[in-house]
Amino acid sequence: MKYSYYPGCTLKNKAKVLDAYARASALALGFELEEIRDWQCCGGVYPLGSDEIATKLSSVRALADARDHGRELVTLCSACHHVIKRVNDDMQNVADIRTRANNYMQLDTPYTGETNVLHFFEVLRDRVGFDALAKKVVNPLKGKKIGAYYGCLLLRPGEIMAFDDPENPRVMEDFIRALGAEPVVYPYRNECCGGYISLKEKEMATRMTDTIQESASGFGAEMLITACPLCRYNLNMTANGLPVVYFTELLAEALGVKEGIEA
């Protein structure tokens, strides 16, 4: 099985391992991520303004490319996923954005939201299946108490992201369980890490990540997993906080394909 794949800017730089462990794990699970040719940065945050068109076009290009290959489009970074999924919703449901974006793009076939966008977690849950994943685990992460940090972007707005229950999600906990580890549910797992505020106002972001970290360790977690490079960066600002790793690193470890991948 082959999917179109949108890595995004950070997975080519500071978060190379998020990408590398995902590709290796995908092969071990029997599917392939084929990177979209000449993809462009999604911009990191979804352009909320209903009159903003230019800032949505890089997503439209990626979506149309996947459509032209007849494939579903897979993302890893929470921010890329959020932006592309919401632009896809605009292309399906907002006539004004759809018309203006297509007038600008002049594609051979206009894009009207045909592509199905999947986060890697959704591929694991809905295409591979957590039971099948559990059977492929050669190195179960027994005894590890892991807190899932969802953050905002995968979950909200729930109506559009349709990723999981936005207030009481479970996909990451089910993932942790499939790897043989023990998920730790804690109250702040879907509260904001501060996002881009950490560029100019580190103190404000650190207050927020301190609360999240304290919540997770208070409930017994020994480490946190995330899909988002910015969440990871922010959560690491907390002094003496729990270690924060990308979920794909644990996946590669459990599948026995971690060795040999450059960290």
Binding site: C9, K14, C152, P157, G158, M204, Y233, N236
Partner: protein, 132 residues
């Protein structure tokens, strides 16, 4: 152009850019209760709605809340009336940024803010939110 008409024009622009309808608000305050940046804001999320309704755009445009919203979408998710306070805040921010000199971030500031771990995602996100 008189101030009144500029205010009216800006209020209409906020409604248009945001696609949100402040008239639906029933003042339950759930948006402010859930906002992780509440303590940092001078105008709170539930008050944003009233400012737009009353056409009090000048105060809104001067509010530091524009730069405190994290786009976490908690207020949008938890609003029982689908009023979308984060979209109103973003539209007010757009009005400021679309005027000359309204940017909150300059490329000149960046070198001093960098550290070896800082992800590219943080820079692109901040640039998109803080300037045109």
């Amino acid at each position: 152009m008189s101030n009144v008409s500029k205010t009216e024009r800006q209020a209409a622009m906020i409604r248009e850019i945001s696609g949100a309808n402040p008239a639906k608000c029933m003042k339950c305050g759930k948006c402010s209760a859930t906002c992780p940046a509440f303590d940092e804001m001078d105008i709170k999320p539930h008050q944003f709605v009233s400012y737009v309704q009353d056409g009090n755009i000048e105060a809104l445009a001067a509010s530091k809340s524009l730069w405190k919203c994290l786009s976490c979408f908690a207020c949008i998710e938890r609003c029982p009336r689908n009023v979308k306070p984060a979209k109103l805040i973003d539209a007010a921010r757009q009005i400021v940024e679309r005027e000359k000199g309204g940017d909150y971030l300059s490329p000149d500031e960046i070198p001093a803010l960098l550290d070896p771990e800082l992800p590219q995602q943080l820079l692109v996100s901040a640039f998109r939110r803080y300037r045109r």
